[in-house]
């Protein structure tokens, strides 16, 4: 039980300047994420959860505190030290984002390249890792399309010709093809039909399990959190008001806001 921490967040915060005054979108967030752990971040829109996700994924820089990541050794060297994202070069961060991390956007269009084929969207990340052999790329891409339940015959079609659910599954394949250790997801099932959502959730649950992925999933849907995450973090007005084991937070919420959130859900 003493596996090394994968992602370590300490007092992290991000402020945006509004009418000359800094306004904290999120602040003072601290937690450790271990390999294979799935953490859900819940809260209403404007609570700062998406900003937090962008801090963790180095898409924003911290204005306070820090985010450290266990950077995998690049070539043979046995390094397993936590590195401050703020101290890493642009190139190193890009390399991380392309290989060891995934980022699943709420709108698949933001995470896909719409002007190249579905297959190329998946193969692209492999090529970034140096894979050049066309036959191998094609084979691995096909295998991933099947894995996310996409018809491989659509491999040469543009993503725009895919349905919303298919685009989201394509985005997931694109992210997972390099076997990342950590995946960030921003409302991955929002905006999809309920039946499409169920299929995607089941798929995500299975993949996270099989690949032993660590993930940070931002969602406003408590059922999604319960299904995917062992732990959750509840945010309100930019701060974490409660965190802990998912079923404990949902079944025995302590903070007034969490109690309100849980009691506001309609169960069909």
């Amino acid at each position: 039980m003493n596996a090394p921490v994968l992602l370590s967040v300490r007092g992290a915060g991000k402020a945006f300047v509004h009418q000359g005054q800094p306004r904290w979108a999120c602040r003072d967030v601290s937690f450790d994420l271990y390999p294979g752990e799935v953490l859900a971040v819940v809260g209403e829109s404007g609570s700062g959860k998406s900003t937090l996700l962008r801090l963790l994924a180095a898409r924003h820089a911290c204005d306070a505190g820090s985010v450290h990541y266990d950077v995998r050794a690049e070539s043979g060297e046995q390094s397993s030290t936590l590195m401050d994202l703020a101290s890493m070069s642009e190139a190193r961060l890009r390399w991380l984002a392309r290989t060891d991390w995934g980022f699943v956007e709420q709108h698949a269009r933001d995470g896909l390249r719409m002007n190249v084929s579905g297959g190329a969207n998946v193969g692209e990340r492999l090529m970034a890792l140096g894979s050049r052999h066309y036959g191998n790329l094609r084979r691995e891409t096909t295998a991933w399309m099947e894995r996310v339940e996409l018809d491989p015959r659509r491999i040469d079609d543009l993503p725009a010709t895919y349905s919303g659910g298919m685009q989201q599954r394509l985005q997931i394949a694109r992210n997972l093809v390099t076997h990342p250790r950590l995946v960030f997801m921003d409302e991955p099932t929002t905006g999809l039909d309920v039946s499409v959502q169920a299929r995607l959730l089941d798929l995500l649950r299975e993949l996270v399990d099989q690949l032993q992925l660590a993930a940070v999933v931002v969602t406003h849907d408590l059922a999604v959190a319960r299904l995917l995450a062992q732990r959750m973090l509840v945010m309100k007005d930019g701060v974490v008001v409660e965190q802990g084991l998912t079923d404990r937070v949902l079944d025995d919420p302590q903070h007034p806001y969490t109690q309100l959130l849980v009691s506001s859900v309609l169960t069909p």
């Binding site: 169920a198 732990r231 084991l245 998912t246 302590q254």
Partner: protein, 237 residues
């Protein structure tokens, strides 16, 4: 390490639970206080008390599903005593994966996942291969008289009794060292109640420590080696 005899596997120390309802102006709902329990392998402890006396809340505290308001829940996990009230989420998960099973009254269904796979899942999480896990799951479902034509369907549309049997198979399949049972026979007919009683006997014989709520007097008398009256620890402010 401490004064706990090696024989016990689960204990509570001055455990209390009070709910605070912030939506109702911080209304305090005291449930129980000062509970000291100790359960050893091979025992089946029945929690008793009227409806609303806090039996299920106590069971949920033992599982880490409810937070203790004060006091402690401790479990011997992989030979080490640990506190469930202060453990990190991932450690609680490990305890649930390897040491402690829970059969709730209600089945939480996962869309699209078949009954057989739901029951096999706890074994899969222990590293058992898919084929072997499924065949053991099939044995449990057969034992619990769940018709084979249901195995490949998600249990969402099953009757209460069918869902309960899926839940029992899911909770018991790994033969956990600590087994928590919340009214496991509530919606079962006499034949299936008898099967569950036999399964509990077998779990006890193989060394599980069991804590359960058994509504049915006959079942309770058949399985319990001791009982604990939660009502006696009712906490009235």
């Amino acid at each position: 390490m401490n004064e706990t005899p090696m024989t016990a596997i689960l204990e509570t120390l001055a455990l209390s639970k009070t709910f605070t309802l912030h939506g109702r102006g911080g209304l305090q709902l005291p449930v129980f206080a000062g509970i000291d329990l100790r359960v050893s392998p091979g025992e089946c402890l029945a929690l008793t008390g009227h409806s609303g006396s806090g039996k299920s809340s106590l069971l949920r505290c033992l599982y880490g599903n409810y937070a203790a308001s004060s006091g402690d829940v401790r479990i011997r996990h992989e030979g080490q005593w640990m506190s469930l009230t202060t453990a990190l989420p991932r450690d609680v998960f490990e305890v649930r994966r390897r040491t402690m099973g829970y059969v709730s009254q209600f089945l939480r269904v996962i869309p699209r996942v078949s009954t057989l796979d739901i029951v096999a899942d706890p074994l899969r999480r222990l590293g058992v291969n898919a084929e072997s896990a499924r065949s053991q799951a099939a044995q449990w479902l057969t034992r619990l008289n769940l018709h084979e034509h249901l195995w490949h369907l998600p249990p969402a549309t099953f009757s209460g009794g069918e869902q309960q049997r899926v839940n029992i198979a899911h909770g018991m399949i790994t033969s956990p060292a600590v087994l928590l049972l919340d009214e496991p026979t509530a919606s079962l007919d006499a034949d299936n109640r008898r099967v569950v009683v036999e399964l509990i006997h077998a779990a006890r014989a193989s060394g599980s420590a069991i804590v359960g709520i058994f509504h049915d007097d006959e079942v309770r008398e058949a399985v319990a080696t001791r009982s604990f009256d939660v009502e006696q620890h009712r906490n009235s402010l």
